[in-house]
Symmetry: C2
Subunit: 341 residues, 2 copies
Amino acid sequence: MDDNTPRAVTMRDVAQAAGVSVSTVSHVVNNKQGARIGKDAWERVQRAIQELGYRPNAMAKDLVKGRSRFIGLVADAIASTPFAGQIIRGAQDEAWRHGHVLLVANTEGNDAAETEAIAMMLEHKVRGVLYSTWYHRQVELPVGLTETDCVLVNCFAAGGGLPAVVPDEVAGGRQATRMLLAEGHRRIGFINTTTPSPAQDGRLEGYRGALAEAGVPFDPDLVIDAQPDQEGGYEAVGHLLAQDATGVFCHNDRVAMGVYDAVRERGLRVPEDLAVVGFDNQEVIAAHLRPPLSTVALPHYELGQAGVRVLLGLDQPADGGRVVVPCPPVHRSSVSTVAPD
Amino acid sequence: MDDNTPRAVTMRDVAQAAGVSVSTVSHVVNNKQGARIGKDAWERVQRAIQELGYRPNAMAKDLVKGRSRFIGLVADAIASTPFAGQIIRGAQDEAWRHGHVLLVANTEGNDAAETEAIAMMLEHKVRGVLYSTWYHRQVELPVGLTETDCVLVNCFAAGGGLPAVVPDEVAGGRQATRMLLAEGHRRIGFINTTTPSPAQDGRLEGYRGALAEAGVPFDPDLVIDAQPDQEGGYEAVGHLLAQDATGVFCHNDRVAMGVYDAVRERGLRVPEDLAVVGFDNQEVIAAHLRPPLSTVALPHYELGQAGVRVLLGLDQPADGGRVVVPCPPVHRSSVSTVAPD
């Protein structure tokens, strides 16, 4: 397709059309202060730029400044989850707002791809790199990232040292449990994940905190660690009902979807026989279950935004280098038959 | 964070460490043919590059060649669907394979953002732009895209003229219907979408084609247009059962999820009382329904790959400028109780 590409309009073309010198065009394009150019010539150049569709070479301009307008985003799995996508969107919107452009690389946890992506970004003199994971976890930092500014998004490095933007798992777990407490539930099950992670620890801590606040004693028999998907939720329901649970906080929305199936198979109903709260607010599931699922949102968009703000020095992390982003509750109809506000 | 950035290693640093001139370093870095450099000096430069961690400035190199290694991808909604993500992944993998880097912009259908993204890409002298939509549809081409090579991915422009890579909706609809016919079903419902689109027309054509192949007369009472989500599927089931349907092909997996709910509420079972086939293979739903859903995959990864291949001239579209990518069947357990092969 190469041969059909129209020849790019050059500064020389603009100069010719406007009847001025190339250096005059350059001054106008670069908005150079102190250059003495008559109003008339200035307008002729602007008109010629418009008419010819001249585009200044951004690479050349960036090169002169020794640094590009790029921000890199290295993510382990943009594509295979609907989540990480929102991190990209948040980061992109915020980058644009400040005149930067996001270079995205999806590495699918492949070390070679990661190394190559980071090298490419360094070659292009990125302003810095956001390193992001699709679920909140500790990471080993790739070597190349020590050569540039780096902010971790939805993850953190051992020993600290690098700023990290992470979701507030503890407050999220507290919110979820409070939604059930507010409807009068006292026997509240928690289907946690079997995967050791900040989500596993943090949400349990939040669950226990909310119970303590409400003066409800913690009963370990009400907590089950299960595979964090539909099958895990489905399997856990028998045990929780045997423990007289009337409400359940699920580690994520997929687990809640499995809980719905198990409740229905027993001829029972959500929320009348078992009130259910999820986590993630995975739209395609949560909003469309019957009844629609009350849940707590993982703030992926906000994580991406905050990552860029920290990288550009617009936000400062607190002591310890962490920026903690809230997980807001989303009220639907799986906790109470009374319509949410 | 600016002040902590270590000073970049320059070509001059490398020259000093290797005891050679800057132009010798430049020849080595650019692998210049015909430059007479002794084996010894060559090795000293390579060693200095390694030890100092020198990175050649890719922007400068690209600039000399007058064209960058970037390929642009403008997408309407990477983030809000789990689908478009796979287009990015396919495009990225294929771009890398050929030494190019993908610049991604997600515009969420916002015209201003789209214009800005395209202008940014043109400024960076991209090799070309993939213009992609999250669902298969006709698009109005943004003006800026006429200034560079462009390939449409998962969409097409009125009047043709631009190469377009699209999924084979007709063959996909035929595959889905054949899965039901193969199990002996003759009263096969089709819950189509209410949204006019190539998917609406193509999948219906495929459904009718498969019935004709099998000698089953087309019955318009078995086709319902419904909202293409869980609620639409849920509402359609009563009508289809009243028409004595024993199997149903759903416009997408979300519709199938609603069908499951409606079947269960009637005390019936999938597939014994109603066999179900979806479309999309949206993993998070299809693989985890009870029973797991047989469906037809939308080939998003392959669409992204093919887009890059057409842009780089590695694949040639057939007459009409279309590359049509197959939608393969995915056999699970919602058509037959006999385990799939």
